[in-house]
């Protein structure tokens, strides 16, 4: 009549899966926090040049993005390999930049309309001609605050 009976080896107990939801939720939250949402799918190559004298970009609602670069491999059949401008989800010509900026500006809140920054996300291989044309268009619509978006790195990475 002992209280301490040796446990007889029965079936292996099933491992509880009660915590599985927790783990899944944890992963979910992690990815929700760490992912940066991109509003538009990139249709151009976007290997940004490196710079180290950089400043952080303003809050997201004060920025409009203009992408430029060679069309990515999926689109080369249709659009060729000449660098192009991408506004929102489609390719655009230089003359459309002005209208894009004005419509973006109109869609923002009144108090933000004067503090908007235009972020130029341009592929490093692009020629300056296209960028000067964009800048000229921006000047025409008085969108003077611009940001050359770069990745962090030493300038020497740009020289090959």
């Amino acid at each position: 009549m002992s209280k301490f009976k040796k446990k007889k080896g029965g079936d292996l107990p099933a491992i509880s899966t009660a915590s599985l939801p927790d783990i899944v939720f944890m992963l979910l939250f992690f990815f929700m926090v760490a992912t940066v949402m991109r509003d538009s799918t990139l249709m151009v190559k976007n290997q940004l040049p490196a710079a180290d004298q950089i400043q952080k970009l303003d809050k997201k609602d004060r920025v409009m993005y203009i992408y430029a670069g060679e069309p990515s491999s999926r689109y080369t059949d249709k659009y060729g390999t000449q660098p192009r401008i991408q506004l929102n989800d489609k390719f655009a010509t230089v003359s459309e930049v002005g209208a894009f900026v004005l419509s973006e500006r109109a869609s923002k809140r009144q108090e933000l309309q004067n503090v908007l920054t235009t972020a130029l996300k341009v592929d490093g291989e692009t020629k300056m001609g296209l960028i000067s044309d964009i800048k000229q268009e921006l000047r025409k619509v008085n969108a003077l605050k611009i940001n050359y978006t770069t990745r962090i790195g030493d300038y020497s990475q740009n020289i090959d």
Partner: protein, 207 residues
């Protein structure tokens, strides 16, 4: 005696472990934000009568279609650009009311009078590649930052940070408004000592 199976492992604390990990990741991950070089474009209106600027106060940087750099009519390597620009801005060759007290340059009368008057003129070709242009911009901004850092440390040694760090702190949304108020006049003061006067010419066309 009835055969008893082993008791189930208590999983009640699993949730605690999961939350602990979740909080760990929440704290350690930083959401990636875009960063880059901020620039301001000139307004499109033509200035009626442009001010007369002495040739010696202009530091010309030309990038040609082969991505070569011509600084003050001499072919230079981009690695020397920062030093050359710093030297030009910090020269302080002016006399009388143009004199610059804080400049530590060589005071060469052939170079800039003072940082207030010194203008960097950047001209590039339509065929210049964008990444070289960014590298040049980066180096020119770096030259200004080097000098602003120096002046910031000289004027405000108690802050024990550089101009760039102070500026970063100022634009950080986590900094308290009081701290921002305190930093603002100091930053403006240093900015006025070395105003960023970077002029960009319209690009030349290659034939």
């Amino acid at each position: 005696m009835a055969k008893r199976s082993a008791p189930e492992v208590n999983a009640g604390s699993m949730a605690d472990i999961a939350f602990l990990l979740l909080i760990f990741f929440l704290v350690t991950t930083t959401i990636e934000t875009d960063s880059g070089l901020n620039r301001k474009l000139p307004p499109i209106e033509e200035i009626e009568d442009p001010p007369i600027i002495k040739e010696k106060n202009i530091f010309t940087v030309v990038v040609n279609k082969n991505n070569q750099l011509l600084v003050e009519e001499e072919l230079v390597d981009i690695s020397d650009l920062r030093a050359l620009a710093t030297e030009f801005l910090d020269n302080g060759g002016g006399e009388g009311e143009d004199a610059c007290e804080f400049c530590q340059g060589t005071r060469d009368p052939k170079s800039s009078d003072n940082p207030e008057k010194a203008i960097i003129s950047l001209k590039n070709d339509r065929e210049t590649s964008y990444k070289v242009y960014i590298a040049v911009q980066n180096e020119l901004v770096a030259a200004y930052n080097v000098l602003r850092d120096r002046e910031f440390i000289r004027l405000f040694p108690n802050e024990s940070m550089t101009f760039v760090e102070a500026n970063k702190k100022y634009s950080d949304p986590r900094t308290s408004p009081e701290e921002k108020e305190r930093l603002k006049p100091k930053l403006t003061e240093v900015k006025l000592l070395f105003p960023q006067k970077l002029s960009e010419a319209e690009p030349s066309k290659t034939n």
